[in-house]
Structures are given as structure tokens and as C-alpha cells.
Amino acid sequence: MPNRLHPALIGFAVLVYLFLMGPLVIVFGAALSDTTFLTFPPQGLTLRWFERIFEIGAFRRTIVTSVEIAFLATALALLIGIPAAYALNRYRIQLPAWLSTLFVLPILVPEIVLGFSLLRSVAVGQSAPIFLTLLIGHTLIVLPYCVRVISASLASFDFSIEEAAISLGSHPVKTFFTIVLPNVRSGVIAAFILAFITSINDVSVSLFLTGPGISTLPIQILAHVEQFFDPVIASVSVLLMLLTVAVMAIVERTLGLTFLAK
């Protein structure tokens, strides 16, 4: 596109970016404040609120649960999502069009409705353990990311490469692992990261699927804010932001960040 922008437009964009970045900077500052209440700019600097996170049992437990759920849900979603994405691309003519819609349904259906329905039908209806129900819920909401991102990689994969390997005597299953998978590696990494971060940050599905003893970090943050208004929440938020930064660094290393803009 030609490079002439009205100065007012540029000024507007600068303001929008200040609006986008400002609140996150404020959270960062608030986490360092040496006060018992949340404030910005920080009054005095301390890291004690980060230590405090791990002194509170509920945070320790929910961080573990969130990480466990995120890993398991992502692994499960990849395990079933990769073959599905492969099938959608490889056997497009024999599969109906609605199948690919089915796999994005978890984004289409309001998450809060999904969470409530899982509570009704699975956790209560089938007396399933709450951890298992939570895992199912998270697997469902990250599945669309896995299927779509890997599908996008497979769409640019030339399947005659796979056929070449088979014609040279490589078993189809072996071919998938030695030829197809290495060539969509970046898609798998991207899917993993998107799925993981989606699961870690989820509120709406987890909301109904937490109970005494089992909760996730975002739900715990919500509960904590209702009772206390101390900087520990800001420091937990900073931890989550650092996770985001780490994720973006991994993406930058492996795929280049413009990947995320697609």
C-alpha cells in the first residue's frame, strides 16, 4: 500500500496503542508496589508480592492444576486433532463439509454455555470426576485451534511428497511420521502454544467445573479479587504476562512473529 497517512490518523493509532499497552504497564508497576493495597505508580519497590503468591496455598494449588490441565488438554487435543486435520485435508472429497464446522463448534458455542452443560450432563449427570470434566472442557475449547492451525499447515503441504515416499516403499503410517509431520512441524508448535495459552487463560468453561479442592488459576484470581485488593493479584498477573512473553519468544524463535498475525 502507498505510504501516505494523514497525521491525525497516525496520532489516533498512537493513542490506541497507548490504550492497549498502558493498562498492562500499570499492572506491572502495581505488582512492585511496597504497599498493602493496589496502587500506581508503585510506592516503593519490592518483590515480596511474588513470594506471597506461593505462600498462599490456593494459588500454589491452582497454578499446578492450571498447568496440568493445559498440558493434558493440549496433548489430548493434538492427539485427536492432528489426525482430524490430516483427514480433512487428505480425504477432503470423501468427508462432508459440515465436519470441519463441527471441529470449530467449540469456538462458536458460547463457552459459558459449554461449561454449564458439561456440569449438568457430565459432572452431575454422569457423576464424572470434576478434574476429568474440566479436562474434557479444556480439550474441547483448544481443539479448534489445533485443527485449524494444523489444517492451515497441511493446506500448503504437497501431498504428492507423501505419495512419493509411499511409492518408494515407505509404509503410510511410517510416512506420516517421517515425511508429513516434519514438514508441518511449525504448525504443530503454533497449535501447541495457542492451545496451551488458551487453556491457561480460560475462565468461562472452568467457571462451572471447579469445586472444593479443584480450581484453576484464573478462577482463583477472580475469587481472590472479590475478597482482597492487594498487589498479589498484580504479581500473579505479571507471572501470566511473563508466560505470554515466553510464548511469544518461542514463536519468534521457531516461526517468526508475523505467523501470529495470520
Binding site: I93, Q94, D158, S160, I161, E163, A164, A165, I166, S167, L168, G169, S170, H171, P172, T175, I179, P182, N183
Partner: protein, 353 residues
């Protein structure tokens, strides 16, 4: 290692659409047969059925007497060269070529030795350690060829292997492919939509249309004596003129064209001529002359184009619009009347359809 290929009564469907209709084809040991036709004619489907990537609804495929029809693709040991090369992007050139040998459990040292030898044959031993992304189109196709040949397949198949290359390279590569195929005496099936390519490279060519073989013959026969109107048009007989025999006299047959003009056709060139037939002529097969007494179809000349070796005229005749060539020495003006005289060498006789 060389085996004849026999395809018998092959029928295939995509969903409910029939894409191949009772197709039979035999390729002799060491022979190269091309499947030639427009896209959607079934040529690639045939190749993919033979390779085992598609399953036929009916029919059998045998190679050297062994029935391949139900054998999975990876057990068929057919060398395949793809249109877009299909090199493994994450493997070096050497590993690409050695891949098939590795599947056969050949030890690393031995397979690298053989792969290098094959790369040397296609002139790429210098590039053995590169990744395919760093190669030019022609080099990629050579790697693909080496990769297919190194496993010494009983059958080698090509799927439009040259269509991504530029014109000059295409001609060089097809000579190279033919030499390698000859030298190894490998049975080969070659799919292309390029008539010149098919004719130049093949022992025999199958011209395909709507899932059927319209004619399977040597390039010479196809070019000079097409068996039907479809093949005639395909190989450049632009004019199809319905005719009726009016007299038979020893070596000559007299036949009447639409509009009543009678033409004499020598039996020596055309063989047996049925009472009703179609005279097929290339533009070169109808000579344009201003001589009103010449024995030819009366025509009104339309647009004239310059071909370098001749002038070509769009003509209006009793038999409909025809295309004919006239000598450079005597250009005729559009709108003038002329005669179109059949040149026996550039014409052939077809049964009416």
C-alpha cells in the same frame, strides 16, 4: 529388471462420477507408453490407479505376471516422478535419493554409494548435500528422476514431469529421460497433455478422452492415420468434410463433397474407403488456389494470417467453415473466391460416426 504391464478392464469412480470406463492397456517390457489427453480425461487417474493411490471399482493391474490390484502402494515398488517433483523438503538431495533404498533395508554405506552413483548419472553429484529448496526446477526434476531410478523399479511412471519447466529445458529433459529409460530398459508410463512431448518420447501413445483410450498406436500412425474424428482433431486435422463415394474405378475412388464437387482419391494412399466417409485434412492438406478449374472445393476466402511458411485462410464453403493454407508466392485477398484442393499426403479417411 524389466516387466510388461497389463491393465485390464479398469473402471474407477470418484464418488458417483465414473472417471475411468473399462480401460485396458498393455505396455511391453522396456516400452515407454504415454497417456495423452486434456485435463480430466482420466490419464492421471490411470497412473494413480497403477501406483496404488486409488482403488479401482473393477478391473485388474498386473506387472510381470504379478497381480497388483489389491497390493498397497508402498509394496508395489513403482518408480514415480511427479509434476511438482515432490522432493522431501527436509532431507538433503542425497537422502532424498537414498530414501527408497533405506525402505528396503539397505545399509547406510551401500545406499549412499548407490545414491551417489545415481546422482552422478544425472550430473548432480556436486549438490548431494544441499536441501531441495536450494535447487533450480531442472535440478529438482533430475533429483526426482534419480530417486525413482535408484530403486531399479520394474515400472517407471511420470506424471507431467516437465510441465513446470521452461520450454528449452523441457526439450533437454525429455531427451535425458528417454535416454535413461532406454539405458535401463525400464518399462515406463508417461502422462502428459503435451502432444509434441508425448510423440517425441514414446514408443506408443494412448490418446485419452472421458475415461477411455480413443486410440493407442505409434506416434507415426496416430499422426498420419488417426482412427476416429476425436483423434484426428486432436492431432491437428482441423477440417472434417463428410463425403459420399460416387464411383470406384481401379486405383481411384471418386467421391462427392457437399456442394456437389467431385474429388478423386488415390486408393494407394487411403486404402479401403467406405461409401460414406469423412475426409480429414490439416490446413496444409487443403491447398488454396485461385485456379477456377482446379479439382477442389469452391470457397470464399476470409481472414488471412501469415504463418511464415504459408498463408492461412479462414474459408467459407458448402461444407462449412474450413481452414486452408496457400503459397506465399501468391497471396489472395479476403473476399475472393478460390478452390481448396486436397493434398493426399496431408489427408486421411475416417469412418462416419
Amino acid at each position: 529388471m524389466t516387466h510388461p504391464l497389463a491393465v485390464e478392464h479398469l473402471t474407477a469412480h470418484y464418488g458417483t462420477t465414473k472417471v475411468l470406463d473399462d480401460l485396458s492397456l498393455s505396455v511391453g517390457a522396456g516400452e515407454l507408453v504415454s497417456l495423452l489427453g486434456a485435463s480430466g480425461c482420466g490419464k492421471t487417474t490411470t497412473l494413480r490407479l497403477i501406483a496404488g493411490f486409488l482403488e479401482p471399482t473393477a478391473g485388474t493391474i498386473t506387472l510381470g505376471g504379478e497381480d497388483l490390484t489389491r497390493l498397497p502402494a508402498y509394496k508395489r515398488h513403482i518408480g514415480l516422478v511427479f509434476q511438482n517433483y515432490a522432493l522431501f523438503p527436509h532431507l538433503s538431495v542425497l537422502d532424498n535419493v537414498a530414501f527408497g533404498l533405506k525402505q528396503r533395508g539397505i545399509a547406510t554405506a551401500e545406499r549412499n554409494k548407490r545414491a551417489r552413483a545415481m546422482l552422478e548419472r544425472v550430473g548432480l553429484d556436486q549438490l548431494a548435500d544441499r536441501l531441495p529448496g536450494a535447487l533450480s526446477g531442472g535440478q529438482k526434476q533430475r533429483v526426482a528422476l534419480a530417486r525413482a531410478l535408484v530403486i531399479e523399479p520394474p515400472l517407471l511412471m511420470f506424471d507431467e514431469p516437465l510441465s513446470n519447466l521452461d520450454a528449452k529445458l523441457r526439450v533437454d529433459m525429455r531427451v535425458e529421460i528417454r535416454q535413461l529409460q532406454r539405458a535401463n530398459n525400464t518399462t515406463a508410463v508417461y502422462v502428459t497433455h503435451d502432444q509434441e512431448e508425448a510423440f517425441s518420447i514414446s514408443d506408443r501413445v494412448a490418446i485419452m478422452h472421458q475415461g477411455r483410450i480413443m486410440q493407442l498406436d505409434t506416434p507415426e500412425v496416430l499422426y498420419q492415420r488417426p482412427a476416429n474424428a476425436f483423434v484426428a482433431r486432436f492431432v491437428g486435422f482441423e477440417n472434417l468434410i463428410p463425403m459420399k463415394v460416387t464411383a470406384r474405378d481401379g486405383d481411384d475412388v471418386t467421391a462427392q463433397a457437399p456442394g456437389g464437387v467431385a474429388l478423386a482419391l488415390p486408393k494407394a494412399r487411403f486404402g479401403d474407403i467406405p461409401d460414406d466417409f469423412v475426409l480429414a485434412a490439416r490446413a496444409d492438406g487443403l491447398a488454396v488456389t485461385a485456379d477456377p478449374d482446379a479439382k477442389g472445393l469452391p470457397a470464399t476466402l476470409g481472414l488471412r494470417t501469415y504463418l511464415g511458411r504459408a498463408y492461412q485462410y479462414q474459408c467459407e464453403t458448402e461444407a462449412g467453415p474450413l481452414i486452408a493454407n496457400g503459397p506465399l508466392s501468391s497471396p489472395l485477398e479476403p473476399g475472393s473466391t478460390a478452390r481448396l484442393v486436397p493434398v493426399p499426403d496431408q489427408c486421411c479417411v475416417l469412418k462416419p460416426e
